[in-house]
Amino acid sequence: MDVNYQIPRLALLWVLAALLLVILPGMLRLPPLILLLVLGCMGWRLLIFSGRANYPGKLVKALIVFTALPLTVLQFRSQGVGLDAAVCLLILGVVFKLLEMQYKRDIVIVIVLAYVLTMIGFIYSQTIPSGVHALLAVAVITGALVSLNRDNARNNFRDNSRLAAQLVLQSVPLTLALFILVPRIAPLWTMPLPVPSNKTGVTDEMTPGDISSLGRSAELAFRVSFDGEAPSHDRLYWRGLVLDFFDGRTWRRGGSALLDYGMIRRYPSEYRGVRQGEPVDYDVIMEPTQQTWVYGMQLAEVTTGEIVQDRNYSLHSATPITQRLRYQLRSWSAFQTDLELPRALRSRALQMPDEDSNTRSALLARELRAASTDDRDYVARVLRHYREQPFFYTLNPPLLGEASIDEFLFQTREGFCEHYAGSFVYLMRAVGIPARVVVGYHGGEYNPFEDYTMVYQYNAHAWAEVWFEGEGWVRFDPTGAVAPERISQGVEAVFANQPGFMEDSGFSMMRFRDTQWLNTLRLRLDAIDYAWNRWVVSYDQDLQLEFLEDVFGEKARSSLLWALGLSTALIFSIAAFFLLRGGQRQLRDPVTRSYLALAVDLAVMGLPRRRGEGPLDYCARVSAERPELAAAMQTVTRLYVQLCYGEQGVGSEELRQEFRVTLQTLRLRVLSRARRAGLVAVSAFSRPQ
C-alpha cells in the first residue's frame, strides 16, 4: 500500500456528497442523537479536509465508538434488534470509517458501502421518487469513483459528472435486460421486517364510528385492473373479513382467527362453494396494511400470489402486508356458499351478546317476524323499515351509548354503514336467522388512463350476509335501503360536500376533483404510479413469465436463459462497437511507410537501419557499402526528406509520384539482389512494423 497516498481533495468532496445524498431519505428514521453524531462526523471530515482539524487520535476514536454503540442500543431497545437498528449501525460504521480514511482502500470501502446504503432505502420505500433518488445516488457515487481514479486537469466537477452520467446511462440498456430476464428467485430465508407504520385500513373489529372515520381518509387502499370489462359499480363489493361475534357494542371475528386460518388447507371441495356464471379475472395491488387479510370479490378463487382462502371465504396473505402486494383473483358473479351450514358455524352466526340491553330492538324484530310469511319476507320488511323510517346516512354520526342498537334504531337514526350493517345483523339474529357482518370496501374510482380502478380508504364499507335454507349465504346491504346512490354511484357522490369527508388527508388533490384539468392530472399521476407498481415494483416470477409469454410465446420458460445470454451478449457487443471502434488508422503517412519498407529490404541485405539513425546518415552508409545503389538511394532519401520536412514538399503530389516510382524501382533492385544472393525466399517480404 502506498503510504504516502493522498486522497485527491476533490474525490473526498464527491464521497461526502454521495454519502449525504444516500443517507438523506433515511435521516428522519435515525434517532436525533445518532443523526447529530452522523452529521458531526461528516462535518469533522470536512474540517480535516480544509486543514482546520486533525484526524482523530486512537483515544478519541475509541471514545466515539464506545459512546455511539450503547447509544444506538439504548435508542432501539424498545424495538428490539430490528432492521432500523442494523441500518443505524451501518450508517455509523460508514461515517466512522470516513473519519479515519486515509488510504485508497479505506475510501473505496466507504464508496462501496454507499452503494449498499442506497439499497437500504428501498426496504422502506420503492416509489418513483426513491427510484430516481437511487439513480442519482449511483451517479454521484460513480462520480466519486471517477474522481478517485483520475489525477489530472480533468478531475473537475464538470468532467467527472459528465463521465459518471455517461457511464450510468450507458449501463441502462443492460440493466433493463437483466431486470427483465434474470430469473427471480424466491426468498432464501425470512428477514426481519421494517417497523410497521400506523396505516391499517379496515380492521378486524367494528365499533360504530370505526368505518366512518376511514371516510376521512383519501389514502389509497388498493388498485384493481380487470381483464376485460369492469363490473358495474354496484357490484364492486371488496369483501374483507367476516365479523360474527357481537358483544353488544363491537363486532369481532368469532372463533379464533387462527382456527379459521388453520383450517384453510383442509377444506373438502364442497365448502369451496358452487360457482356459476361468467368468471371475471382481475389483478390487485394492495397498499401495505401491516395486516394479513386482503380483499376480493365474492366468490373468489386465487390464481396467483401467496394468498389463501379461509372458511369464511376471506382471503389472507401468509405474512403481514408491509409492502405493496400484488395478487390475481378470479371471481364468479353467481355462486352459492355453505348450502349446508355446519353446526359450529350456525351457532356462531346466531350468537347474541351475553348481557343484552337492546330490548326494544329485539321486540321490534319479533314483531316484524310475526307479521312476515317467511325469512325472506322478514328481511324485506326490515329493509323497508330502514327505508320508510326517517334514517339518515351520514359520515358524522352521533356517539352511541351502551345499548347501541336501540339508540341507533329508535333515537339517533343517523349512521354510517357500520350502524346499518350491525343493527341489521342484530335484527336477523334476534329472530333466529343466521347472519353476519362483512367489512371491506365498496366501489372505487375508474382511471381511464391505465384502465384500472382505485379503491380508497373512504370506500370502506360494511354490509351483511344472511343464511337461507337451500340458498346459502346471501348478501344484503342495508345501507342501500337508506342511501341507494351510495351503492350505485359511490360514497364520493353522497358525501362530496359533507364536512369530514377526506378531512384527514390535508391538502389532497382529491379535493379538486371538480376542476376538470386538475382531476385529469390527478388521475394521470396515479396512472403512472400504478404502472410503476404493477410493472416495476411488483415485477416477480409470475409477471416475468407472463411478460415473456407475451413476447416469446409458450416456450418462454425454457428460453429465458437463452434470451438472457443472447441479449446480454448483444448489448455488450453494441456497446463495444461504439466504444472501441475507429482509431485503428495507420499512424504513419504512406510516404513514411514505404520508406520504412525499403529499410526492411535493405536489412535483408545486411544493411539494417540502426536505432536513431536519421535518413541522411543511413543513406550515406548504404551508399558507402553498396555503391551500385548509391544514386537511387540518394534520390529516394532526398525526396523523402523533402516530402516529410521540406517546406513545399509536404503535400506535393508531383514529388510524391516521383518518390513512389524511384522507391519502387530501388526496392525491386534491392530485392532481386537479395534473392540472387540467396538471402531471401521469394515470399519472405516482411512488412515494416
Binding site: M119, A134, L145, L167, V182, D540, R611, P615
Partner: protein, 345 residues
C-alpha cells in the same frame, strides 16, 4: 514456514510458470520499438477494489431476493452493468495508445536508469491515469489528454555495469472506476549503458599531490623514476623501494612518470591488489575527475588501450570501455554516441 523441499518446489513451479509466461509473451507480444496497444496485447482483470464492488453487488442482490425488493434487484443489475461496461471503458483507455521506446540515458550502476518512452494518441482518444513501470521499478504516472504525444521517463534501478536491456515495460491503467486493471507488457527493445559505480579513492601516484589542475607535467607511468612517496594500501609490491626500506627509511614506493609529460594514462595496474570490478569503479571515478580537470587522459586496461584525449565524446569512450570491459558481446551492437539517442524517423 515451509520446509526446504517445499520451498524449492514452490520456487521451481513459480520459475516454470514465469518462464512460460515470458515465452508466451515473447511469442504473442514480440519485441518491437513501437507498439500500438490493441486487442491482442492488452490484458484485463478485475482489481481488488473491483472484487470489493462485486461483493457489495452480491450483498445487494441477496437482500433483494430476501426482502423481495424489485428496485434493489434493479440497483444490483445497474451495478453489474456498470461493472461490465467498465471493462470496455478501461480497455478503451489503453486501446490505440502507441508506445515508442526511445532509449535510455547512460547511468552509473546503482542509480536509476531512465528510459524515455514516447506516448502517442489518436486524435479522438484520450488516455488518462496511465501507469508505466518496469518490474521492480518505480511507477511513472502519465495522462495523455491534451497534446498528441508525450515523453515520459520510466526508471529502473541498476545494479551492475554493462549494457542494461530494459525488461518488459508494464503499461497499465485502472481508469475510469478502478474496478478493472488493463495492462500490456511491452518489450520495446530499449537498452542503456551502465557505467561502473564510481568509487572515490586517492590516485596511487604523486599526481594528486602535485596538482592535476595546474597542468603539471607529472603523470603516473612506468617510464621514468620520479621520486618516492609513502606506501599506501593497494600499491604494487613491485614498486616498493626495498633498498630504502632496508636503510630503515620506512616503507616507500617508487613513483614513475611517463615521458610524454602532458598526458595522463589511467592504468589497470594502478589499483593492483583489488578485484576487477573494484578497479573499474576506481578507474571510473578518476575518469570523471580527470574529465573535469584540464588534462588529456587515456586508459589502459587489459585488452583496451585508449590514447589520451579530452572532451565529452572521449570521456564517454573511456567510460563505455570500462562499462563494457570483458562484455565484448555487446561492444559491437552498442551505438557509441554519448548523447541521448535521437528519434528514429
Amino acid at each position: 514456514m515451509f520446509s526446504e523441499p517445499t520451498m524449492s518446489l514452490v520456487n521451481a513451479v513459480s520459475f516454470w510458470f514465469s518462464t512460460r509466461v515470458q515465452r508466451w509473451l515473447a511469442r504473442n507480444v514480440p519485441a518491437v520499438s513501437i507498439a500500438t496497444l490493441h486487442r491482442r496485447n492488452i490484458f484485463i482483470l478485475p482489481t481488488s477494489h473491483g472484487l470489493l464492488y462485486v461483493a457489495a453487488t452480491t450483498l445487494i442482490f441477496i437482500t433483494a431476493i430476501n426482502y423481495v425488493l424489485s428496485l434493489a434487484f434493479g440497483l444490483a443489475f445497474l451495478m453489474v452493468s456498470l461493472f461490465i461496461l467498465c471493462i470496455l471503458h478501461t480497455f478503451r483507455n489503453l486501446q490505440h495508445l502507441t508506445v515508442k521506446g526511445i532509449g535510455g540515458d547512460v547511468v552509473f550502476a546503482g542509480e536509476d536508469a531512465s528510459f524515455t518512452v514516447l506516448l502517442q494518441r489518436q486524435p479522438e482518444r484520450m488516455h488518462e491515469a496511465l501507469e508505466l513501470k518496469f518490474p521492480k521499478g518505480l511507477i511513472t504516472r502519465a495522462d495523455l489528454i491534451e497534446g498528441e504525444q508525450l515523453r515520459v521517463n520510466v526508471y529502473l534501478p541498476t545494479q551492475r555495469r554493462g549494457v542494461l536491456k530494459a525488461p518488459r515495460l508494464l503499461v497499465q491503467t485502472r481508469f475510469p472506476l478502478g474496478l478493472w486493471r488493463a495492462w500490456s507488457m511491452l518489450d520495446l527493445s530499449m537498452r542503456c549503458l551502465v557505467y561502473p559505480t564510481p568509487v572515490s579513492c586517492p590516485l596511487p601516484t604523486a599526481v594528486s599531490n602535485s596538482g592535476v589542475g595546474k597542468g603539471s607535467s607529472t603523470q603516473p607511468g612506468s617510464d621514468d623514476f620520479h621520486g618516492l612517496r609513502n606506501y599506501q594500501l593497494g600499491d604494487s609490491l613491485k614498486q616498493v623501494a626495498w633498498k630504502n626500506l632496508a636503510r630503515g627509511q620506512g616503507l616507500k614506493v617508487k613513483q614513475f612518470v611517463d615521458s610524454s609529460d602532458d598526458r595522463f594514462m589511467l592504468d589497470w595496474a594502478m589499483f593492483a591488489g583489488l578485484d576487477a570490478e573494484a578497479r573499474l569503479s576506481r578507474l571510473c571515478y578518476w575518469v570523471l575527475k580527470l574529465a573535469r580537470s584540464d588534462v588529456d587522459y587515456g586508459l589502459n586496461i587489459p585488452g583496451v588501450v585508449i590514447s589520451p584525449g579530452r572532451g565529452d565524446v572521449h570521456r564517454h569512450r573511456l567510460l563505455s570501455a570500462l562499462a563494457l570491459w570483458q562484455q565484448s558481446q555487446y561492444v559491437e551492437r552498442l551505438n557509441p554516441r554519448p548523447s541521448k539517442t535521437g528519434d528514429a524517423v
